[in-house]
């Protein structure tokens, strides 16, 4: 799926050459270093990578929630197609503007990894839900209460009326995550950004939450941007995948294609590292470790850890190569595809 195939009426959000840099006394960290992707209406995109790859900053920047003033959008655009295909470039907006505040929670919503951190411990769940609803819709308190109850129903939480009056610490982790999903979806946004929503949950609960997200995505015809380090989650929930490494997208493909044949050596390494598939013997692992964010690398940032690295890889940063409807940023495929 190349970006050019998707015409504007099918796109929901189109990110082009986005770069977000952190300016700290220790230097400049290129947390996001020129990435491009788009999400179609009703489709889901997975962003997979390990710590330090920039996936969380990408998610935050989509709602202009990147930590300013330390982090700055250096370049690039985020074209968001609002209702009636009115297109707006989010990068042009001021981070405190009225427009972005109307978009947040209402048209683009986000759920996080730690539900305990995103729920206010001193407010009842019902109050927190109603706060969001009344922020974006001009309705009365009793109507908002009904909307809140409907949202809790939508996420299949048990005893919703009781939950409305409870505090976050009184319910379990899985339930808190459902509440957070309810808060994100109560205004029926067009795009849900999920940043590692199940990493902190038990496996049995994870399965339920993922199923819930998928069902809701279908029911609400919502787009989904799933950020995770877990390839299993990618396989279950996404149509398209982008693999990130140290601020760049190294491979982009449909989930089917990626699982059938990962092209980039890093992606291949990720697939091989999972202990579940091994019975005995040593695990394949990627040698070395993720470079420090302050290091300036020449050439491909993965080269030091790559079994296939050549001198070209070490001297020149690879360009994005299109190949059979996918994209990969690796010199290995330079002669196969078009640049």
């Amino acid at each position: 799926m190349s970006r050019n195939l998707l015409n504007n009426s099918e796109k929901l959000i189109d990110v082009e050459n986005l770069a977000v840099h952190f300016h700290v006394p220790q230097g400049t960290v290129k947390a996001v270093d020129g990435i491009s992707f788009d999400i179609g209406k009703g489709k889901s995109l997975g962003i997979v990578g390990e710590s330090g790859c920039g996936k969380t900053i990408t998610a935050l920047t989509m709602m202009l929630l990147h930590p300013h003033p330390e982090a700055k959008i250096e370049k690039g655009s985020i074209h968001f197609y609002r209702h009636k295909n009115e297109m707006i470039n989010l990068v042009d907006l001021d981070v405190h503007s009225k427009i972005i505040r109307r978009i947040r929670g209402n048209e683009i919503a986000m759920i996080f990894q730690e539900p305990m951190m995103s729920l206010n411990p001193v407010h009842k769940i019902g109050d927190q839900l109603m706060e969001i609803i009344r922020l974006h819709q001009q309705i009365s308190k009793s109507n908002a209460k009904q909307v809140a109850l409907d949202a809790l129903d939508m996420v299949k939480i048990s005893a919703p009326v009781q939950r409305m009056n409870e505090y976050p610490f009184q319910i379990s982790g899985g339930m808190r995550q459902r509440v957070m999903i309810a808060m994100a979806l109560c205004c029926k946004p067009k795009l849900l950004i999920a940043d590692e929503p199940t990493t902190a949950l038990d496996v049995t609960i994870e399965a339920e939450i993922l199923k819930l997200i998928k069902d809701l995505q279908n029911d609400l015809n919502m787009s989904l941007m799933m950020i995770t380090h877990d390839l299993g989650v990618i396989g279950e929930v996404t149509d398209q995948v982008a693999v990130m490494y140290v601020g760049k997208i190294v491979e982009k493909a449909s989930t089917k294609d990626l699982f059938k044949e990962p092209l980039h050596p890093y992606t291949q390494g990720l697939f091989k590292s999972r202990p579940e598939i091994k019975i005995s013997g040593r695990l394949d692992s990627i040698k070395g470790s993720v470079p420090s964010p302050y290091e300036v690398t020449h050439g491909c940032s993965f080269a030091p850890r790559c079994d296939f690295a050549t001198s070209l890889c070490r001297s020149r940063s690879p360009e994005l190569i299109s190949l059979d409807g996918r994209e990969v940023s690796c010199w290995k495929y330079a002669d196969q595809g078009g640049i």
Binding site: L210, D230, F259, S273, P275, E276, L283, V290
Partner: protein, 337 residues
């Protein structure tokens, strides 16, 4: 005590009191560990799997006597010297502690941020007054190289290292006094996938080189499969199943094990994990009557609600136990890919 075992735990219970009110009255008990018995053979790696509230972490901490158990015995046997540490007062236990160590899940709080790496990894030696300063330094250098770091790193501080490197430092610290048994409390859960593989490989190599036995605690069956000889599955303070590793994955005997297996991702596009348990984990202070799993189990019958099943040996199988009234009649699926 069986000679082949280095550890025998019997009837272990650990209850945490819940206190309320001005006078801190005890209102109920969080029965974190509720009658656990297990053994570990010399050179064996036993995987202990459970989700939140299962009590697996508490078992790990009781085994290294981080706090005294409410009830039960914890008997170790190292090279002919055996000791029931549950009854031993702390000052008599100090010397025996050289035999076991622990690895921690949270790599960011397991190293003292104010201490140099050299001091961190030689602290167990310093506590037991082993070796001169020079000898300790040399041991530290050797071990650091062995785990994949360098002797220069000894002069640095924890904040200069990544998650995977910190866990290696934790391993160095554990190995410094040459223990025979290490409790690994979810040592790779907080690390990146590619780093997990490195650390697991390292632990495997070290097991061979140093003749170690491990208790490997994990929250899902994915990681332990690769690593364990036998697996113990826990739920809400109780052991529900024990079996050799291959059997757990191919022929689970307990509904909870089946549910855990179903919850492992298949890494297939478009696949869905089967959800076999309803509801959520109950409050450990108010465990269900009868079998701990019965409110959530699709196979539950009346007997399950009335009496708690004992952990009984599985007929015709070695080293296999299950706590389920219906284990002989249920045909559970393995869900393995």
């Amino acid at each position: 005590m069986d000679e082949n075992n280095i550890l025998e735990v019997e009837g272990l219970k650990k209850f945490f009191p819940n206190r309320k009110g001005f006078f801190n009255r005890i209102t109920s008990f969080n029965k974190a560990v509720n009658d656990i018995s297990l053994h570990i053979k010399k050179g064996e790696t036993v995987g202990l799997v459970g989700e939140s509230g299962s009590g697996k972490t508490t078992v790990g901490r009781c085994i290294v006597k981080l706090f005294p158990p409410t009830e039960g015995s914890i008997k170790y046997n190292f090279n002919g010297k055996s000791l029931d540490i549950s009854q031993t007062p702390e000052h008599q236990l100090k010397d025996f502690r050289k035999n076991f160590q622990m690895l921690f899940q949270d790599v960011y709080s397991s190293l003292d941020p104010k201490m140099k790496i050299l001091d961190i990894v030689t602290e167990p030696l310093a506590i037991h007054n082993i070796g001169t300063e020079k000898e300790r330094f040399e041991t530290a250098c050797e071990l650091m190289t062995r785990v994949g770091l360098t002797p220069d790193d000894l002069q640095k501080y924890p904040h200069q290292f990544s998650g995977g490197q910190r866990q290696r430092i934790g391993i160095t610290r554990a190995l410094s006094i040459q223990p025979k048994f290490i409790v690994c409390d979810e040592p790779v859960s907080a690390l990146d996938v590619s780093v997990q593989a490195q650390i697991l490989n390292l632990l495997l190599d070290l097991r061979k080189d140093f003749n170690l036995s491990y208790l490997f605690i994990a929250h899902d069956l994915g990681v332990v499969k690769y690593f364990s000889d036998r697996i113990i599955v826990m739920y809400l303070g109780k052991i529900v199943e024990v079996a050799p590793a291959e059997d757990i994955y191919t022929r689970p005997k307990h509904p909870y094990t089946e549910a855990l297996l179903a919850a492992i991702s298949k890494y297939k596009v478009g696949s869905e994990r089967k959800i076999l348990l309803q509801g959520s984990i109950p409050d450990p202070s108010k465990p269900p009557t009868g079998c701990v799993l019965q409110p959530r189990c699709q196979y539950a019958i009346d007997a399950c609600k009335q009496t708690a099943p004992d952990l009984l040996p599985v007929p015709n199988k070695n080293d296999s136990f299950v706590a389920c009234h219906r284990s002989s009649e249920l045909d559970l699926k393995s869900y393995s890919s």
